[in-house]
Amino acid sequence: MQEIKREVLVNKASELLKNGTVDRVFGWKKGEFDYDITPALFTTAEDIENEFVWGDFCGANFSKYLIKETGKSENKVLVFLKPCDTYSFNQLLTEHRFDREKVYAVGVPCNGMLDTGKIKSSAEGISKVTDNGDKVVIETLFDGEITLDRNELLPDRCLNCKSKKHVAYDELLGEDGAVLDSNRFDEVEKLEKMTPDERFAFWQNELSRCIRCNACRDVCPACTCEKCVFDNPNSGVENKAATNEFEEKMFHIIRAFHVAGRCTDCGECSRVCPQHIPLHLLNRKFIKDIDSFYGEYQAGAEVGSRAPIVNYTTEDIEPGDAVRRNENA
């Protein structure tokens, strides 16, 4: 359950629309079911009243939409940002990807979003999902209802939430939280402890499912290139379909490399992957390595920070030692 009520958001949006601060509102729109909530742009208080939702399935991060939307009008757009969204927001500002002046950012606290995939794998024919705080009741069409611990239904990114603190906003609804110590590197470490053969088998299996739908890339707030190298026939590495195992790896390695130092670990890539490939484990490996090689760095924690990959010291670890360090980890 989200601690802050829908009405608070709706009232805030209506108020800002009414007083002319903004003329558009990014928010979540209700769908056919409890869980299929669409990110949407609202322009009237009436639509907001009728269709705006706030709850356990409002995972979508609006930061990336701001690139396009701020270019469309001179007026401000209202965006609701969960703590993890604010990191993407800052990272995009660092990269000059949108005009801060054209955005009114309202921070909303987040208690973790539910993972639709986990819900669907625990029940079929879902007709209703009710969050009672610690427990979630899933009603089904033909199998009655089941009750599960809310924690069981949280996606990895929320189980390992890195921060309940908003690092950017014009206004904050509710209480701000703190940056958290998470166990987000546990899974990376588990992989590091495997033998190379096991790791290879693991990734081969995971990446072989990739259908190159580009959802990971297109949702990623760090992947904002005007033209992605993989789409560009002139780049020399254009690659539309994962024709074979090599191209599967190539795409994901290079994508992870391109967002290294810029990835805020928002977890959207893994959320949207139709094949449930744990893509965040690639990004987290880079984050973990950056932290351990060059000192802790959180992309998006502050606007204008210089990512370690575009920085150096004269005493940096040698690539050979970096790899050997994995071995001894």
């Binding site: 769908g31 056919e32 079911f33 869980y35 299929d36 909530i37 669409t38 990110p39 949407a40 742009l41 979508a60 939409y65 639709t116 669907k120 079929e124 024919g125 879902i126 007709s127 069409l141 033909f142 499912r209 259908i211 190159r212 739908c213 580009n214 959802a215 890339r217 297109d218 949702v219 789409d231 539309k240 379909a241 994962a242 024709t243 959207e268 959320r271 949207v272 139709p274 094949q275 449930h276 490939i277």
Partner: protein, 341 residues
């Protein structure tokens, strides 16, 4: 109609696998997926595989031909290898219907021989649904989940498998299995169908109708203002296209291997910004136009060209997989009026 006890199901599979490669949906941690059957693999009870069954006839990538280039000389090499006979088991009614849609495209003159070849070598053993999902809406397109099409239609009850051959190919296959199957009447099957249909009628999307769309409705829907709102948050990824059993757009690309050129085709998506881009211009500049294309194609253009047949089969995959949860049902409800929902 033939039947075999559920306990002996493996003997059925091994009998089929003796003569053809047998594929069927199996469960994995990340959803059901078609895999080649081998001893020990169990048929999944899931409704939808993550990827649809279209892969069997229209794979995501396939090599079309090779070229050898030397100086100014070019040699074209037809590098196709012999296709093996195969059986796809457990295809649901919606996916079976998708083959009809694909046939309309690939088997229209001039026929696509790559597709045709696979189609000829493949036998479809469909499987009737018993417990539909909340995202199912095949009834909207007049598909009966309780009685799918296919070469052989199968029904799984609590204790047995029932099989009914519908085509020559199917009859041939079933007759080869007569040794291990027994004749059966359709009582159990009819019973099951009744239950299934009753369940279908209770689905949240049961009342969704496609009647507003179809043949000749281009002008009516093309300029509708709702497209803007619907397409607003579309990311332009290809998820819906690639999980869709009927999406069939493709691209043809060349790959220079260093000692030759491979011309291959791969799935493409009309949602991609460069889909219709050419050096001289781009007819579909905005995501709105691309988004509209996909749904107009499924609901209007395709029916216009194919006697009213929609190119959506209501499998619900896009409902489950779209990163932003936009899908054809929302489009139909928005454009077709709320009476549809």
């Amino acid at each position: 109609m033939r039947k075999i006890s559920l306990k002996k199901i493996d003997s059925l599979f091994s009998a089929i696998a003796e003569n053809s490669v047998l594929y069927m949906p199996v469960d994995t941690k990340t959803g059901a997926k078609f895999e080649q059957w081998e001893n020990g693999k169990e048929l999944s009870d899931s409704l939808n595989t993550v990827r649809s069954a279209k892969d069997f006839f229209f794979p995501q990538t396939e090599n079309l031909m090779d070229f050898k280039v030397e100086g100014k000389k070019i040699e074209v090499i037809d590098s196709r290898s012999e296709t093996e006979d195969f059986v796809v088991f457990g295809v649901r009614a919606c996916d079976v219907k998708s083959f009809d849609v694909l046939d309309k495209v690939f088997l229209a003159e001039p026929q696509d021989s790559y597709y045709k070849n696979r189609r000829e070598h493949g036998v479809i053993m469909s499987l009737a649904c018993t417990k539909p999902n909340e995202t199912c809406f095949c009834t909207t397109f007049r598909i009966d989940a309780a009685e799918p099409a296919g070469d052989v239609v199968c029904y799984k009850t609590d204790d047995a498998f029932y099989m009914d051959a519908k085509t020559e190919k199917g009859k041939k296959l079933l007759s080869a299995l007569e040794g291990i199957t027994e004749a059966a009447d359709d009582t159990a099957v009819t019973e099951q169908q009744k239950l299934t249909r009753e369940r279908m009628s209770k689905l949240p999307l049961a009342s969704l109708k496609a009647d507003a769309f179809g043949n000749g409705k281009t002008k009516e829907f093309f300029d509708r203002p709702e497209w803007k709102e619907l397409s607003e948050s579309c990311l332009g990824c290809g998820t819906c296209t690639f999980v869709c059993p009927t999406c069939q757009c493709y691209d043809i690309k060349d790959f220079n291997t260093g000692h030759g050129v491979k011309r291959f085709r791969c799935w493409d998506s009309c949602m991609y910004s460069d889909f219709t881009k050419m050096s001289a211009g781009q007819p579909r500049l905005t995501q709105l136009e691309r988004f509209r294309q996909r749904f107009m194609h499924k609901l209007v253009y395709f029916p216009t060209n194919n006697d009213g047949m929609f190119s959506c089969v209501g499998c619900g995959r896009c409902l489950a997989k779209c990163p932003i949860q936009m899908n054809i049902v929302k489009v139909m409800k928005k454009l077709g009026g709320n009476s549809n929902g």
